[in-house]
Structures are given as structure tokens and as C-alpha cells.
């Protein structure tokens, strides 16, 4: 600090409380976030739980063959993952922006706060609860179908219908998190200098032009940041959400990479192959974030971290 001439040991003595304070947290992170990366060696082994990690025989890259060999179960999981990600980027991502613009245009602060309180709430419910709620609303014995049946309109199968699974999953994410995701956009909107709107109004700008030339540019950095983070998660789609509903629709419609790793590895015992899939998924995710971040820098945006 101010005593730049201190030796390293003196600095340790000076900051000993701070160093000690970091110990429990850093220890937990090292154990449960970094140590697992060592466990990835089983991706290169024929791991047998009763033999142990160290004594299981090495198999080189054999476990990775499934990724390039066109294995139908793996390809199905990959395709489903990418389709769900695409739906989420196209439908779930823009929704909170629109919702935030709507909320921001509310005149009354009290009304705005009340609406926010209601819309944030689903974010705090567990996936088990959300799935249960959707069953109550859209299931065969649920609110919608009871209504249709009472009015002799037939019924629609949604919750148990493999063809409707992507739509169901997207709808659930929208219900749970679109409200909560507005919080960042609302904050960004509240920081826009209001004189910009006034000046543009004097110049005769319509509301659409204001949206295009003032509001959206002000949100651009945030949108880019969130898109980068989303891209890093491109291969991760609602694991708990999907595991809960696989029994109802079957693996063809609902298997994604994470559930594949879980079902094929931990449940079916094909540890090595599943670890290989998990490892590749993690590395690709990381590369996606770093790549997207570079791209953002090239376009003059701040991105997740600065260079």
C-alpha cells in the first residue's frame, strides 16, 4: 500500500487478517469448482466405480469417438440442445426488453413497483414448482382442458405431448424468468438522460424514432453483454427443468446434453463416455464466451471483461 518498500513477508504480516478471511471461501471454490476438473481424467479412462479413478485402465481418446462417430443418441441430444437454445435466444431473450420498455412507460411509480413485484416472483420458485404449476394449468386434468371439456371443445395434449415439448419448455422459461430479467434493462433505462427525449421531441421526433435512436442505443452494451453470457451457455439448457419432465415425453423429444451425461453416465454407468461429452461441452462453452467477447471488442463494445 503506502509502504511500497515492504518485503513480501512483511506484507503478508500486514494483511494476515484479509488473507485468513479469504481461506474458507477460496478453499470451498478450489475443492468444488477446481478439483472436479481433475475428475475429468476419467474421460480418458475406462472408469469402473469399484476399481477407482487411479486404477481404471487408460483408453486414450476412445471415449471421445461418440462425439464424431454420429451416434444417434448423442446427435439427438445435441440437436435438441441447439434447438432449445435457438428458441430461447429468439423468444426468451427479447421478451424482457419489451416488457421493460412497457414497464418504463408506466406513469405511476406505485403501479410500476406493484407490477414489478408480481412479475419478479416466479423467478424465486423452484423448477419443481414451476413444472407442477404448468401441469395444473395445461395438463390433461388441468384448468385449460377442464374448461375445454366442459364446453365440449375436445382437449389438447400439451404436457405429455413430445411434439409440444419445445414450446412447453420455452413457455416455462418465459413465465419464470422474463419478469426478473427486466430488472437490468429497467436500470439501464432509468439512466438515460431525459433531456435527450425532450430535445428530440422539440425536433419533432416520433416515439418510434426516439425508441430507435435514443432508447435502444442506450441498451446496446447491456444487450451485447447478456448475449455473450447466453452464448457461453449455448450448450446448457434448463437441466432441472428437463429432467423433471423427461418421463412424460420420452428421451427423443427431451434429451439434451446435460441430461445425456446424467442418464448415460450416472444412471446407466457409462462414465467415461459421459465425462468425455461433459468435458467437450465445458470447453466449447468456454471458447464460445471468449470468442464472443473478442467479437464484442471488435465492434467497440465493452463485453464481459476488458483487455
Amino acid at each position: 500500500m503506502r509502504w511500497a518498500g515492504l518485503s513480501w513477508w512483511d506484507r503478508v504480516r500486514r494483511d494476515r487478517i484479509l488473507l485468513l478471511a479469504t481461506l474458507p471461501g477460496v478453499g470451498l471454490l478450489l475443492t468444488f469448482h477446481y478439483l472436479p476438473w481433475l475428475g475429468n481424467v476419467i474421460a480418458f479412462k475406462d472408469y469402473q466405480p469399484y476399481v477407482g479413478i487411479l486404477d481404471s485402465p487408460w483408453t486414450g481418446l476412445a471415449n471421445f469417438r461418440i462425439i464424431v462417430s454420429g451416434d444417434p443418441a448423442f446427435l439427438n441430444a445435441l440437436t435438441n440442445t441447439l434447438v432449445i437454445t435457438l428458441l430461447q435466444v429468439l423468444i426468451v431473450f427479447p421478451a424482457p426488453i419489451a416488457l421493460a420498455l412497457l414497464l418504463d412507460s408506466l406513469m405511476s411509480e406505485r403501479l410500476k413497483r406493484a407490477v414489478q413485484s408480481i412479475l419478479y416472483l416466479p423467478h424465486f420458485l423452484s423448477w419443481v414448482i414451476v413444472v407442477a404449476i404448468f401441469m395444473q394449468l395445461l395438463g390433461d386434468g388441468g384448468l385449460l382442458n377442464t374448461f375445454l371439456r366442459d364446453h365440449d371443445l375436445g382437449t389438447v395434449s400439451i404436457v405429455n405431448n413430445p411434439d409440444a415439448f419445445f414450446a412447453l419448455v420455452t413457455g416455462q422459461v418465459l413465465w419464470k424468468d422474463a419478469g426478473w430479467a427486466t430488472i437490468l434493462f429497467l436500470a439501464a433505462l432509468s439512466r438515460i438522460d431525459s433531456t435527450l427525449y425532450e430535445a428530440s421531441a422539440v425536433d419533432g421526433a416520433t416515439r418510434w424514432r426516439q425508441l430507435w435512436h435514443i432508447t435502444l442505443p442506450a441498451l446496446r452494451s447491456l444487450i451485447v453483454l447478456l448475449l455473450i453470457l447466453r452464448l457461453g451457455d449455448a450448450l446448457t439448457v434448463g437441466f432441472e427443468q428437463i429432467v423433471l419432465q423427461q418421463a412424460a415425453v420420452g428421451a427423443d423429444a427431451s434429451e439434451v446434453l446435460d441430461t445425456y451425461v446424467y442418464n448415460n453416465g450416472i444412471l446407466a454407468g457409462d462414465w467415461g463416455v459421459s465425462a468425455a461429452v461433459g468435458l467437450v461441452k465445458g470447453v466449447v462453452g468456454l471458447l464460445l464466451v471468449l470468442g464472443a467477447n473478442r467479437l464484442a471488442h471488435r465492434f467497440g463494445e465493452q463485453g464481459v471483461y476488458q483487455r
Binding site: P36, I42, F124, V128
Partner: protein
């Protein structure tokens, strides 16, 4: 936008536009409120009404608390609720302690080893370990079938550490330096100055941790083979999502006549939502602080 612009009334939305906005927002709110109302109503409904209206009612004719009495009389659900309460309380306490200490330890940028320690936190944010390696670590530490397996792996959330650190860095330097001149050590500064000034953000982070522990479902499925140890979310999955019938055996000392299954299921659902609803209003007004600092200063 409209509320900001008053010049000449040029940009005030026309009536139909405003009406449309109102309708859209009202529908969004209804999409949240109606299911809640339905769940609570169904949990309170009588068998006659459930038979007549189908499995889900929006307003009970007659209120019956039989379903709540049944699930809280000492069976599977009661035990699972206690497990969840315990894991949530113990986990949140541990998480808050570790997070506060770590964030505080990293809140003086020129302290020794500051950069590498900060990197440990930041990279934890980018690298999430896979399911199988995490499972292997928990297993080799002998934590399978232990409640620690639900707590330790998620005890420190790197994002929360970064939010809290950013908040600590933002505290007025003069106050802290003043205390140091008066002879206060690092620990005294943490407890007497930093924590009291950070109540709002601590409340938000505490809520995030508590909700994560309370809602966790997969970690319990993965690490607890012993169904007697299951927390509420897994019970909810078994009896509500998978529609397994709850009988007298599971409900403990209930009377002979069981309340309708639909009401019992919804009562479990309500039970699992209530703790969140109770805490939520007290913390909600601080949300922006908790979420934003991290996003802005990450």
C-alpha cells in the same frame, strides 16, 4: 418514455396505445396471479367441489384445512419440510459467512496476493464443472447421503462474492481510514463499519442463497440415495409432478378419511412456496442494488 417527455405533448402516447399497454401488462400479471390463486384455492377446496369442477379450482366454495392438517401431522411431508428448513438455515449461514469473509478479504486491491485470489473467484464464474466430475469429488470426500453434499458444493457463489466485493469497494474510504487511524484492526472494521453499512445488499444476497438452498432439487436427487433424507422439493416431485398417490402410510397419524389427493398435492405446493413469499417483500426493494452492482462493476 412518456412520463419523461412533456414538451408540447408531442410524445404522449395516444389513448389506444396506452390501453393496449395496460391490457398487455394486466395479462402478464394475471399469468402470475391466477395460477397462485388456483393452487391456494385447490388446497382449500372440499372433495365435492373438486369432483364437480375437475382437479383445479379457482375459488373454493367452502374452505377446508384438512389437506394441511394431513401433511403436517408428522409424515413424509413434515419430515421433508424440516429437512429443507435445516439445510436452508445451515447452508445460508455458512454461505454468508464464507462469502462475506472472502469478499472482505478481496476488498483492498493492494493487499498481498490480491490478484491471484481474485482470479480464483473470477474463473470459478467461467468454468462450471460438469455433473460427473462434481459427483466424483462429492463421492470421494465421503459426502454421499450426507446433508453436507447439499451445502458445501454450492456454499460459495462466485457471482455473489463479486457483487459483495464491488459493494465493499464502493464504501466511503474516509470512514474506514478514519477508523484505522483510531486503531481499529481489519476485523473490527469489518464488524463495526463495513457490515452495518451493507445491510441492504447482504439481505439480497442472503435471500439468493436461501432461495437456492430451499429450491435445490437435483443435488438432492444426485447425492442422497436414502429417500428418508429427501428435502421438500423431491417430495414435491414424487407426489405432485409424478403424481404418486399419498396414502395413510406417508401421511403419518392422519385420521381414516383422507382429504382429496388434489388438495393434498396443492397444499404441499403452497407449503413449498410460503417461505419464499414470507421473505420476499422485505428484500424485494433492495433487488436492484444486489443485482446491479455485480453486473455493472464485474
Amino acid at each position: 418514455m412518456t412520463d419523461r417527455v412533456t414538451v408540447g405533448g408531442v410524445t404522449v402516447a395516444s389513448k389506444p396505445v396506452r390501453a393496449l399497454k395496460g391490457v398487455v401488462l394486466a395479462l402478464c400479471c394475471a399469468a402470475v396471479i391466477v395460477p397462485f390463486a388456483g393452487i391456494v384455492s385447490t388446497s382449500l377446496a372440499t372433495r365435492e367441489q373438486l369432483t364437480r369442477d375437475g382437479g383445479f379450482v379457482l375459488w373454493p366454495d367452502q374452505v377446508s384445512f384438512a389437506a394441511y392438517a394431513a401433511i403436517l401431522s408428522g409424515g413424509v411431508v413434515t419430515r421433508a419440510t424440516l429437512v429443507s428448513l435445516f439445510v436452508t438455515a445451515a447452508g445460508t449461514a455458512l454461505s454468508m459467512a464464507a462469502t462475506i469473509l472472502l469478499a472482505y478479504g478481496l476488498s483492498r486491491p493492494r493487499s498481498v496476493a490480491h490478484r491471484p485470489l481474485l482470479m480464483v473467484v473470477l474463473f470459478a464464474l467461467l468454468f462450471t464443472p460438469g455433473i460427473i466430475p462434481s459427483y466424483l469429488v462429492v463421492k470421494s470426500l465421503g459426502l454421499l447421503d450426507s446433508y453436507w453434499a447439499l451445502i458445501l458444493p454450492v456454499a460459495v457463489n462466485a457471482f455473489n462474492v463479486i457483487v459483495l466485493r464491488a459493494f465493499f469497494l464502493d464504501l466511503p474510504r474516509e470512514v474506514i481510514d478514519g477508523a484505522r487511524i483510531d486503531g481499529a484492526g481489519d476485523l473490527a472494521i469489518l464488524f463495526r463499519i463495513v457490515l452495518p453499512l451493507s445491510r441492504a445488499v447482504l439481505a439480497v444476497i442472503g435471500l439468493f442463497y436461501a432461495v437456492a438452498y430451499w429450491n435445490a432439487f437435483f443435488s438432492a436427487l444426485l447425492y442422497l440415495n436414502d429417500t428418508a433424507k429427501w428435502p421438500l422439493q423431491l417430495v414435491l416431485r414424487t407426489y405432485v409432478v409424478n403424481q404418486t398417490q399419498l396414502g395413510v402410510d406417508q401421511l403419518g397419524a392422519a385420521g381414516t378419511a383422507l382429504p382429496p389427493q388434489e388438495a393434498i398435492q396443492m397444499a404441499i405446493l403452497v407449503l413449498s412456496i410460503v417461505p419464499v413469499l414470507v421473505v420476499y417483500p422485505f428484500v424485494q426493494r433492495h433487488f436492484t442494488k444486489g443485482v446491479l452492482l455485480g453486473a455493472v462493476k464485474g
